[in-house]
């Protein structure tokens, strides 16, 4: 089987389509969460000043914790993505690449 045909078959295969769909589903959901976190923070700062000013102790307030939390969350989300990609996503990618190349040794 020619390489071009194998590539076409792979592109049309349900596994490949599933890979693409799963990747974007995950990415877009993560993006959406990040947007909510950040713009939620902005809205809180714009409209929810009273809530953020609620004190913890003598002078500290919730707003400080929230701000710090957004920074840490942003980083954590990149970590979550890398973990997902390194485990679930890359495994599927490897399977598909092997399939593309394995046929090489079989046919010629």
């Amino acid at each position: 089987m020619q390489k071009v045909e194998r590539a076409q078959q792979l592109l049309a295969s349900p596994e490949f389509k599933h890979l693409v769909a799963a990747r974007w589903s995950f990415s877009l959901r993560m993006t959406f969460v990040m947007l909510i976190i950040y713009f939620g923070f902005i809205l809180a700062v714009g409209f929810g000043k009273a809530l953020l000013a609620v004190k913890i102790g003598a002078h500290l307030n919730i707003g400080l914790g929230v701000g710090l939390g957004v920074i840490v969350l942003a980083w954590a989300m990149t970590g979550i993505y890398v973990h997902w990609a390194n485990t679930k996503h890359d495994a599927k990618v490897k399977l598909l690449i092997d399939r593309l190349n394995a046929a090489d040794s079989l046919s010629d």
């Binding site: 974007w24 950040y38 923070f41 002078h59 500290l60 307030n61 701000g67 980083w75």
Partner: protein
């Protein structure tokens, strides 16, 4: 300014031996690296992409270094010192673009491109029009960013060392041209890494020294600040007065980060998409850590130096971090931090210049003029010539804009990156029906809207030109220019048809998702 400095108990403004010595040491080490890199930089792959020899972790540091400019270190620390919590809100905007790069851009960018993001946009479209348009977007972004950096550099060195402004600008320009010309991406990457380590290390020491005055408790520091200046400094202030302003700025920062040419270019220095992912994780971590540091530094300066002293030197508070360094560590430590700030400027302008030179040689010369046929030696020569031209242009612009209020240019650069560069890049990856004309139109319209709306915004009309009111109420054009750009791409693409581009979208998937055939 120098008169005021002489009246204040600070050694800022007079040549500081430690600082000069450290600065020369930095330049010497980085020149040696440039010499080492020059021997390895003969091919285009080496000049543009460091021969893809950079690891994920190293690239993460380099990316963070590229992003943590002197403006953000001094500017954000200053903003926190003068306004408190508002500085944190501002810095968070700069951080959150990175997760978006991770989720949407990093892997397809690395897999589909070779040296620049224009490679990706032009992947399945007609090369010449897209390359020309992407280069325009790149060069506009780079130019505004460069002007802001050069003017900031000149002013900073003049304040720190008492050197005349023009001498400062010329020195920065000359050294920067040296790095890029002889060492290409390999040299600039390692200069960024060294600078990032120095900056993060220096800032960490500054924080530790500062907190030692507060029993190593940030809580105590914040309480002291509130006691000295009122609880308001720990709360959001006037930064988000108009929520639309904040949303517009937030959009520019979030999406602009993903469209900065000198940042995107770094993704090609690592071997594959997996390393690209790791780079973003590492970079985000370091940048987040950096903003936590600048937050503490700002409050430290607020309490230990005092807002009055800081404002006396510079209304915007830009000297806050340096004054704090002197207060907690003496003039030797001040010298170190000042040298690091200088190194930071050098490294960032080098990266910007390399990115511009690459757009000229790889995108315009090879793919437009030479129609895709690359003669390695010729291309590297063009890249070097472009480097010199851009470097000279940067110096000239730095001299021309002396004394001007150019802070808005960074915001403008981000807005152009978000409106011109990002939409076509994202749509090229995601949308089957994007056509050549749609991509080109979105880049052109995005650039025009970004520049046009910022000219009629308070940023220019009120702050620079002095009118009482502006035509466009928001300071940042992003909320108009970004959707405008996406809409243009959509409408223009649907009006035309490009079946070849649609077909190639399917083929492109093998490379984009599996990395098959990636360079």
């Amino acid at each position: 300014m120098l008169i005021i400095l002489q009246q204040l108990p600070t050694s800022l403004g007079s040549p500081n031996l430690v600082s000069i010595a450290m600065f020369f040491a930095f330049v010497a080490v980085t020149m040696y690296i440039t010499y080492w890199a020059a021997k390895k930089t003969k091919t285009t792959s080496e000049f543009y992409a460091a021969g893809r020899s950079i690891t994920g972790f190293q690239n993460g540091l380099a990316l963070a270094g590229d992003y943590m400019s002197a403006a953000s270190f001094l500017g954000i620390a200053g903003m926190v010192a003068m306004k408190g919590y508002d500085g944190l809100i501002y810095s968070i905007g700069f951080l959150v673009g990175w997760p978006l790069i991770m989720f949407l851009i990093a892997e397809p960018l690395r897999n589909l491109g070779k040296y620049t993001f224009a490679d990706v946009v032009a992947f399945r479209l007609r090369q010449r029009p897209v390359r020309i348009a992407s280069s325009i977007g790149t060069l506009f972004t780079i130019t505004f960013y460069l002007i802001a950096q050069m003017v900031g550099a000149g002013g900073l060195i003049q304040t720190l060392f008492g050197l005349p402004y023009s001498a400062a600008v010329i020195i920065v320009g000359a050294v920067m041209i040296g790095y890029v010309l002889f060492g290409g991406m390999l040299a600039t990457t390692w200069v960024q890494i060294i600078k990032a380590v120095l900056l993060l290390g220096g800032a960490t020491v500054l924080v530790v020294l500062t907190l030692s005055h507060f029993s190593f408790s940030p809580t105590q520091l914040f309480n002291a600040a509130a006691a000295k200046y009122s609880d308001a400094v720990l709360q959001p202030g006037s930064f988000v007065k108009n929520p639309w302003d904040a949303v517009s700025l937030g959009l520019a920062l979030m999406l602009g980060t993903a469209g900065l040419p000198h940042i995107l270019m770094r993704f090609y220095t690592v071997p594959d998409a997996k390393a690209a992912r790791q780079s973003v994780f590492v970079a985000t971590g370091f940048i987040g850590y950096f903003y936590i540091l600048t937050f503490i530094i700002g409050f430290g300066a607020m309490v230990l130096v005092g807002q009055e002293s800081i404002a006396a030197l510079d209304k915007g508070g830009n000297m806050a971090a340096l004054l704090l360094a002197e207060t907690v560590g003496g003039s030797a430590f001040l010298g170190f931090i000042a040298a690091v700030a200088f190194a930071t400027i050098l490294a960032v302008v080098a990266g910007l210049t390399l990115s511009g030179a690459t757009a000229i040689s790889h995108d315009l010369y090879v793919n437009v003029i030479k129609r895709g046929v690359s003669d390695e030696k010729g291309e590297v020569k063009v890249a070097k010539a472009a480097t010199i031209s851009l470097g000279v242009m940067a110096i000239v612009l730095g001299l021309v804009f002396q004394g001007q209020n150019v802070a808005f240019m960074v915001g403008l650069a981000f807005a152009i990156a978000a409106s011109a560069n990002l939409p076509s890049l994202l749509l090229s990856i995601l949308w089957k029906n994007l056509t050549t004309q749609g991509a080109v139109a979105s880049i052109v319209v995005g650039t025009i809207l970004a520049i046009g709306f910022i000219v009629i915004s308070p940023t220019i009309m009120v702050d620079v030109l002095g009118y009482p009111e502006a035509i466009f109420p928001l300071k940042n054009p992003a909320i108009v220019s970004i959707p405008g750009s996406f809409l243009t791409a959509w409408v223009v693409s649907l009006l035309g048809r490009e079946p070849e581009a649609r077909e190639r979208f399917e083929q492109e998937k093998l490379r984009s998702y599996l990395g098959v055939g990636a360079e």
